[in-house]
């Protein structure tokens, strides 16, 4: 009898919890504002505990990353060393390389940030789950002027955009490696506005739409945001470098592989451009 009552109660509990979960999913899918505010409040309540724990366990996480990522770091160093040697060799052979390097550094010196108000945020969580490799959370939010869709950059260039309505003191950044991430781009020196999309973790971006087959593009060309009318990104933010060119004869388009200029793997600080295309564009 007692077991029967317990089974009945546990079934009732299960149904109640399932209905509650399904309701929350539905409301969230419809961007129900009171639910989002509640989420923010709950998250803010846990935030001090989490910050404290972060400080305590940071050395452990760093040590773990050092141990497990040593091989990766070594091969990255090797790749950088080879790249440096190549640059040095090129500089000796061709003095134009020096001029090119200088102009590249000008581009990477964040001139695009100078005119646009911005907020520097610290990455507080890279990702907490195993399915959110394309987002990070930063410690700046609505009270700092951050809004949904604003571009996020580092010294290397664009790394993503603010995803969803930010909390008071925190917000989520979707990285440009996310396969669902799309950005209007321009190959420097051309006029065709094309669409680049994320290629996945550790993979280059792909430009598959908008670049006419007769547009002159070469491997090594720089790619920047187009900033065309109503684009959510201002023009001229570095995206990356063209490393491969393919042709879609059927659609008469060029398909580009673009290696991002900014590293999204080990982000510490990022800059959110407080850019509103309707006001600033």
């Amino acid at each position: 009898m007692a077991t029967g009552t317990r089974t009945g109660r546990s079934r009732f509990t299960l149904i109640f919890l399932l209905l509650t979960s399904a309701t929350l999913i539905t409301l969230d899918a419809r961007d129900f504002e009171p639910l989002q505010r509640t989420e923010e409040t709950l998250s803010d309540l846990i935030s001090p505990l989490r910050s404290g724990a972060d400080r305590v366990f940071e050395p452990v996480g760093d040590a773990w990353a050092g141990v497990t990522g040593y091989d990766e770091l070594e091969s990255e160093n090797e790749a950088l060393r080879q790249e440096l040697q190549k640059l040095e060799g090129q500089q000796i052979l061709d003095s134009d390389a020096a001029i090119r390097l200088e102009s590249l550094l000008d581009v990477l010196g964040l001139p695009y940030v100078q005119d646009i108000p911005n907020v520097v945020g610290e990455v507080v969580t890279a990702n907490v789950g195993n399915f959110d490799r394309y987002s990070v959370q930063i410690n700046r939010g609505a009270e700092d002027g951050i809004r949904n869709g604003m571009p996020v950059v580092t010294r290397g260039g664009l790394i993503g955009r603010i995803d969803g309505d930010p909390g008071r003191g925190h917000s989520r950044v979707t990285l440009l490696t996310d396969p669902s991430f799309e950005v209007g781009v321009l190959v420097v020196g051309t006029e065709d506005v094309a669409l680049a999309s994320g290629g996945g973790h550790g993979e280059p971006l792909m430009v598959t739409k908008g670049l006419e087959i007769d547009t002159e593009v070469a491997v090594g060309d720089e790619v920047v945001t187009s900033g065309v009318d109503r684009s959510r990104y201002p023009p001229g933010i570095p995206i990356g470098t063209v490393t491969d060119i393919d042709f879609d004869e059927a659609r008469l388009l060029q398909l580009l592989t673009v290696v991002p200029s900014a590293n999204t793997d080990s982000l510490s600080f990022v800059t959110v451009l407080l850019y509103d295309p309707l006001e600033d564009g």
Binding site: L42, I46, R50, A53, T125, N130, D163, P179
Partner: protein, 168 residues
């Protein structure tokens, strides 16, 4: 120990587990995969406390982790509720488990839970869940949770000693 005290212990355990997952375990990655502590919490709660407590613990920790995931709010809560309940039911009716069976069940349930999460998430319109990487995630997370299951089972026994004693 009073009922209130047992519930307070459970709440404290869940909150601590959530904070530890966010601040520590999510950084301890092997092949880019972190332990699935919240899922392990739901499964071990079901194994120790039965279907009802498994469902409640799964729901609570699921909502907590949903606050920090880009997927739909409530998705983890839904799956962890079902998982906590199902494992609790299986434990009551089939396993009547030895500790090593509980450990293996936690690992298997972790892999299964992740598969269900990815499939259901994709059906609900989420992206990047059901990918080539899913099976690596399932394998590594299951191995991680295999190790974590023993302390978690012990902590649930600490949370509900009198309640469990009365029921047996």
């Amino acid at each position: 120990m009073s009922l209130t005290s047992a519930y307070l212990r459970s709440a404290l355990f869940l909150l601590t587990a959530l904070v530890l997952h966010l601040a520590l375990f999510s950084d301890l990655r092997v092949l880019g995969v972190a332990p699935e502590v919240p899922l392990a919490i739901a499964v071990t709660a079901g194994l120790v406390g039965g279907p009802e407590r498994g469902a409640i613990a799964g729901f609570a920790i699921g909502l907590g982790i949903d606050l920090y995931l880009p997927t739909l709010f409530g998705l983890s809560a839904l799956i962890y509720t079902v998982w906590g309940y199902t494992v609790g039911l299986l434990e009551e009716r089939i396993f009547r488990s030895a500790w090593w069976i509980n450990v293996l069940v936690t690992a298997a349930a972790t892999a299964g839970g992740l598969l269900v999460y990815a499939v259901l998430g994709e059906l609900l319109g989420e992206v990047n869940l059901y990918t080539d990487r899913l099976y690596t995630v399932m394998g590594v997370a299951a191995a991680y949770n295999l190790v974590l299951s023993l302390p978690l089972l012990g902590l649930w026994h600490w949370s509900w000693p009198r309640l469990l004693g009365e029921e047996r």
